[in-house]
């Protein structure tokens, strides 16, 4: 899985959200709890100190002496400082803790003040209050005595620390749970996504039956349904296209086949005409000759059409045998009386395993084409490497126009609008190309320097039937 994959991204996002959420909740919980804890501790301590002072204060003489201060201090408890003008009574470390700020605040505001400080790692709650005397009429006046008490908050802090620790623990415990939940969530999202990806791959590979099963009713299920519909519509169009294509091919094959029967009759009878043409009137003789020529052309065209239909239908068969390519090319030229117009250049016997008849068709079409559209002398080069046989047919004509070159193997492609010389079927080069491909070979056309077109046939020496 790539680090930028959906799964790690989902995982990280989910875990972050969960842990941050848990941490925030725990943190704010711990915060407010500790505030409450401190406040209540402060309240409790304040009330205790106030009560202790109130219990002793009425008995104090005014002005108080040192012993009165001592009594008051003892009543309030440890870590207490009692001050009256220059008199002071202290116990424990409170004197060092009480700050000037607290003392001036108590003096100025004349009421109980509290301050939290930390001294040498120990948290303290400092309380300072003036002792008030109540007159008979109920009026309260400051007696001039100030009581400062320091109370150790370590226990409270400990409690708060424990709470924070449990909050962190909660967040930490949430982490694996979050990971598991994230994995589950990621899987529930990713499984349909992966299904869709597999389906898309199969579709792309040509398996148009591939479908995904939509799960649930979410957006991914919608997407799955949409993709299934798309696949179905592609499948339908493809089927229709194939059917039309097959129909077209079958039609071409059927037409050619049907044409063959009347052509059989024509082929038979035009020869009777040819054999008796000598005794005919000139116009009748010329008509007979035209009928003969055109019948042969028609036969050639229909045979080529049927050959093309077989290639289209994939029913073209080949019979592989050991062939001397040089000999086969020579035979091809000799059988068509081309040895005078086409020169064969070959290193000697070149053996290859291929279909003799199809090789003959290729060479005949290439040389025939060179003689029709190029100019003599036509040169046929046969050569061989370890794996391949090369047959190059080069003419001496002007070469192929640039705009013709890409279409030279197209069916019925006409290079020149006006066809002056004996035309072929218009399928010869297309058939030659198909035959080369049937052998697992190639056929290419090019112009050579100094004019002239060259067709190069490359065939594997040991062709496997495609």
């Amino acid at each position: 899985m790539s680090p930028r994959g959906l799964r790690p991204r989902l995982l990280v996002a989910f875990v972050l959200v969960t842990v941050l959420g848990a941490a925030a909740v725990a943190w704010s919980g711990a915060g407010s709890a500790s505030t409450a804890l401190v406040t209540s501790a402060q309240q409790r301590l304040t009330e205790t100190v106030a009560a202790q002072i109130a219990a002793v204060a009425p008995e104090l003489a005014s002005p108080p002496d040192q012993s009165a201060l001592e009594r008051l201090r003892a009543a309030v408890g440890r870590n207490t400082l009692v001050v009256y003008q220059d008199l002071r009574s202290a116990d424990g470390s409170v004197s060092a803790l009480v700050t000037d700020a607290l003392r001036s605040a108590v003096r100025d505001q004349k009421r109980l003040m509290a301050q939290r400080i930390t001294a040498e790692g120990t948290p303290w709650l400092l309380l300072g209050t003036p002792v008030m005397t109540t007159a008979l009429d109920g009026a309260r006046t400051p007696s001039g005595i100030e009581v400062y008490a320091a109370r150790d908050l370590t226990a409270v802090e400990q409690e708060i620390d424990d709470m924070t620790g449990s909050a962190i623990l909660t967040a930490a415990l949430a982490l694996p749970l979050a990971v598991v939940l994230a994995l589950l969530a990621a899987r529930s999202v990713l499984r349909p996504v992966r299904d869709l990806r597999d389906t898309a791959r199969r579709l792309a590979a040509g398996d148009l039956d591939a479908r995904s099963q939509p799960q649930g009713a979410d957006e991914l299920a919608d997407l799955t349904v949409t993709i299934n519909e798309m696949a179905r519509s592609v499948q339908t169009s493809m089927a229709a296209m194939r059917r039309m294509q097959a129909d077209a091919r079958r039609f071409a094959a059927d037409v050619s086949h049907e044409l063959r029967t009347p052509l059989s009759t024509l082929t038979a009878v035009v020869e009777v005409l040819a054999m008796t043409a000598d005794g005919m009137e000139p116009d009748a003789r010329e008509s007979a000759e035209l009928a003969i020529t055109e019948t042969r052309r028609l036969v050639r065209l229909v045979e080529d059409l049927m050959e093309v239909s077989r290639f289209d239908a994939g029913t073209a068969q080949s019979r592989m045998e050991e062939v001397d390519v040089t000999r086969a090319v020579h035979d091809c030229l000799r059988a068509r009386d081309w040895l005078g117009v086409a020169g064969l250049v070959a290193p000697g016997a070149v053996s290859a395993r291929l279909d003799r008849r199809r090789l003959d068709v290729i060479v005949a079409n290439l040389v025939g084409n060179a003689l029709r559209h190029g100019a003599p002398p036509v040169r046929v080069d046969v050569s061989a490497s370890g794996e391949q046989v090369r047959v190059a047919v080069t003419d001496n004509g002007p070469g192929l126009p640039e705009h013709v070159l890409p279409h030279v193997f197209d069916r019925f492609y006409k290079a020149d609008a006006a066809r002056s010389r004996t035309p072929g079927s218009g399928l010869g080069l297309a058939i030659a190309l198909e035959n080369a491909r049937l052998h697992g070979g190639t056929l290419t056309a090019e112009n050579i320097d100094g004019g002239g077109a060259r067709f190069v046939l490359l065939l594997p020496r040991d062709a496997e039937v495609r």
């Binding site: 029967t261 059989s264 009759t265 024509l266 082929t267 038979a268 009878v269 009777v272 019979r319 035979d331």
Partner: protein
């Protein structure tokens, strides 16, 4: 007696042996053969009949397999030209029945690229095939080539192991018993046994026996060899006379 006359006499006896119709011999020598054309399409049939007649043959026609077989029995022809695509009894079956009744050569009319037809037809015992639409000149050449296979090549008797080949009378005996060979089988045997031990490629045999051009169909040879072996070999699976040279062709013996 001049050599020609001796060959003529030999030919008469062979032709009689093959066709069972002594009267036919003269016509073959004149280059005129009695041909039975079995073709269902009336216009194609008439066209081929006209053309073959123009080439000097005596043509009888039939439009179905059944009628063709009737015509074959009523007056045995020198050669049958048989369209494979026939309604009713098809060409393959007609060919098999003709073969069952004797050694009269059969040339099939097939559609190009229909390898199934060619293979089936050869298996049914046909001697040669042409592809429709066929030029009558080509068909006539094939007909004459087939008929030429029943002419003697030399005077003499070849005794090769358990085989006795009379090259003048064109008769073959295997272990003393006469064996009836079709013209193609006979000419193949004569060609191979004429040079025992020499290896003939399929293309060479096609040119010598079938008189085909350089693009001849080697399956004709293989098929004919099979049928010949079935007739003359003691065990056709391990032939002693007509041996295969793998990747090249066939040779006769060495016994």
């Amino acid at each position: 007696m001049s050599r020609e006359i001796r060959r003529f006499v030999a030919f008469v006896s062979q032709a009689s042996a093959v066709t069972g119709h002594p009267g036919r011999v003269v016509s073959i020598l004149d280059g005129v053969a009695a041909i039975l054309l079995i073709e269902d399409d009336p216009l194609v049939r008439r066209g081929l009949e006209l053309a073959l007649s123009r080439h000097g043959h005596e043509v009888r026609t039939a439009d179905t397999g059944e009628e063709g077989l009737r015509g074959f029995r009523s007056s045995t022809p020198d050669l049958v030209v048989l369209d494979l695509m026939l309604p009713g009894v098809d060409g393959f079956e007609v060919c098999r029945r003709i073969r069952a009744q004797g050694e009269v050569p059969v040339i099939m009319l097939t559609a190009r690229g229909d390898d199934f037809d060619v293979v089936g037809g050869l298996a049914a015992g046909a001697d040669d095939y042409v592809v429709k639409p066929v030029r009558p000149t080509v068909l006539d050449a094939r007909i004459r080539a087939v008929l030429r296979r029943s002419t003697s090549v030399a005077d003499g008797v070849r005794v090769l192991g358990d085989l006795r080949i009379d090259t003048a009378a064109l008769t073959v005996e295997v272990r003393g018993a006469p064996v009836a060979l079709t013209p193609s089988e006979l000419r193949l045997l004569l060609t191979l046994s004429g040079a025992p031990g020499r290896v003939f490629s399929r293309q060479q045999l096609l040119q010598e026996v079938w008189e085909h051009d350089y693009l001849g169909d080697s399956r004709l040879v293989d098929n004919c060899v099979q049928r010949l072996r079935a007739k003359i070999e003691a065990s056709p699976g391990t032939p002693a006379h007509v041996q295969t040279v793998r990747g090249f062709g066939y040779r006769f013996g060495p016994v």
